[in-house]
């Protein structure tokens, strides 16, 4: 019998560009696995739902996947907000939910059926910052972040913790809002505060124009970016102004491992465009799940199979596009064991002449 896996991602609306990458990553991995014989002879079938990046839709999509389509488990949703709303549904129904792009704190505290392989910014940003600071001799930085978005705001929170911990002074902290097109007011102010570097928590949609406008204003300091800036699109969107961006992530398009190379080639062939981190993490998540599925025997009794998968998943070790991967137990608010986060090391790279160069 086929193995039905649910995919609930934002395929339309403002988060669609991430959701679509993610779907592409899943599809690629599932096709590869099926082509290689599937799971103990059964094919992986993806049941894809659009959750539009809205929490109500995510809840509806989860319920449909769990109760109507009777999937074995669910991948998604795209945004942390939606995860906060929808993951409790899966937890209550004792269905594994595997997030590949939810980086906000607290998601895996929801319960013991919540998994993710997205490395949280709490893990990555301190490394990025310390590497850049050491190599560049940075003493004081200006901070710029999007304050109306969970992703960029929690990135900022983690940057702030790391800056405090590493005793780096902050000259000024500025914010912008999603959808802004002009950042010159903030950048002019930042330039006047004379920082050694600009710490930037933004998604690429705003991050790229920020880089361009900073350079236009003569603000030529290095930019230390969060997870959201880790995309080859920066070379295109900030063409001519993309140098000097430091980012940390488990995945880099320049990471020359065998697994990553194979992924990039396969992805580029299938979709005619370069993959990003969202696709890479989705791709790996599918393989991680496949490892667990291979270890269990599917009985056709849905509740039993779901429980078996839940129990097999935490032990999976896998080396994929994002490097060596294992799960790490998270705790809930009371400190009791809950879901599973990713244990992975970050790669720090810096942009130069239209490429990422790995620094560490």
């Amino acid at each position: 019998a086929d193995v039905k896996l649910g995919v609930a991602e934002a395929l339309s609306g403002g988060a669609a560009q991430y959701g679509q990458s993610i779907r592409a990553g899943f599809q690629l991995a599932a096709d590869e696995i099926n082509a290689a014989g599937g799971i103990n002879g059964s094919k992986l079938v993806l049941v894809v739902e659009d959750e539009q990046g809205k929490k109500e839709e995510a809840i509806n999509a989860f319920k449909k996947l769990i109760f109507q389509d009777k999937v074995l488990m669910i991948f998604g949703p795209t945004l942390s907000n939606s995860a906060q709303a929808a993951d409790p549904i899966a937890q209550a129904a004792k269905v594994v939910v595997f997030g590949t792009s939810n980086t906000a704190d607290g998601i895996t505290s929801i319960g013991d059926h919540i998994f993710r392989n997205s490395v949280t910014e709490a893990d990555v940003l301190p490394v990025t910052l310390s590497t850049a600071a050491k190599k560049l001799g940075i003493k004081k930085v200006a901070v710029l972040y999007g304050n109306d978005d969970v992703f960029t705001k929690s990135g900022y929170d983690n940057f702030k913790k790391a800056l405090d911990a590493q005793k780096i002074a902050v000259t000024t902290t500025e914010t912008f809002a999603k959808g802004d097109v002009d950042f010159k007011a903030q950048l002019t102010k930042i330039k006047a505060s004379n920082p050694d570097a600009l710490v930037l928590s933004a998604l690429i949609a705003e991050g790229a124009p920020i880089m361009v406008q900073a350079r236009q204003l003569g603000l030529n300091v290095p930019v230390i970016g969060g997870n959201g800036m880790n995309s080859v699109k920066v070379f295109e969107l900030a063409k001519g102004a993309s140098d000097g961006l430091w980012i940390g992530s488990p995945w880099s398009i320049e990471n020359q491992t065998k697994e990553n190379g194979a992924f990039i080639v396969a992805y580029t062939q299938k979709y005619k465009s370069a993959p990003d981190q969202f696709a890479a993490q989705a791709y790996d998540a599918m393989y991680i799940t496949a490892q667990a599925l291979k270890k269990i025997k599917l009985t056709g009794d849905l509740a039993k199979d779901r429980a078996a998968l839940r129990n097999a998943l935490p032990d999976v070790k896998w080396t994929g596009a994002t490097g060596a991967f294992a799960f790490r137990r998270a705790t809930d608010k009371a400190g009791n064991p809950a879901g599973y986060d990713a244990a992975q090391t970050a790669i720090v790279s810096v942009t130069k002449n239209g490429r990422y160069a790995i620094e560490k």
């Binding site: 304050n147 097109v181 010159k184 007011a185 002019t188 361009v212 969107l237």
Partner: protein, 293 residues
Amino acid sequence: MLEQQLFNALSLGSVYALFALGFTLVFGVLGVVNLSHGAVFMVGAYAALQAVTRLHLPLAGALAVAFAVSGLLGLVIDVLVLRPLRARNAPHLIPMIATIGLAIALNSLAQGIFGAENLRFPAEVLPQDTLNVAGLHVTLLELGIIALSFGLMAVLLLVLRGTQLGRALRAIAESPKAAALLGINVGGLFMLTSFVAAGLGGVAGVLIGLYANALFPLMGQPILHKGIAVIILGGMGDIRGAMLAGLFLGFAEVLSVAYIGSTMRDAVAFGLLFAVLLLRPKGLFGTVNERKV
């Protein structure tokens, strides 16, 4: 720093005004808050991108394509949606709801065709170099946007105030029936207005797309929100009002970043807007047009 911020404010204000001019024209003449103007803006930007990447047109050509494509879209919307609603005497919020539906459809259509991710114009389209003018960092594009928005305002004002066409448009704005009795082709001028306003929206889409270095299917939405604020603050359909309110919003935003703090930017801007409306209940240039009892 102050000089630079003032210039930033001027160029941001001009960005808002550029968008708002076409928007307020439809509002003024057709009396419709056309919430598909953001989508039309986006269509113009994508059309120009196609013109540049596929037809290898220079910027001027791309702008012309954007004007034509968006303008035609505006025309089609007028003929297929707004005109039938006028003919049916639809209550006044109904056309607005129709344009919301259109915006949803157009935005998703663009996503279906071009994908959700950000695209941009090739860097060769417009030199991005910074000029140093009197200690200010200024780009060619910013100067262009400022000049264009002021120029457009001047042209629109000249047309509206000084020509028979302009007088006819103002007549329609006040009363289509009275205008028809003067021999004015009301339906035709509605179409012309829709075409020109949407065309201007498309041109704004290209320039603001260049400015932000990003095109994406929902690119019209954030600026639509600001645009609504601008045209209402300016006073129903008033061209000078739209320009002034655009600048007002630009200055409010930039100066609140500079002197109050960027987290409070939108609160200050919208708080000011709120305050201005309380002082001038019909916007900056709106006349209290209610007929006496």
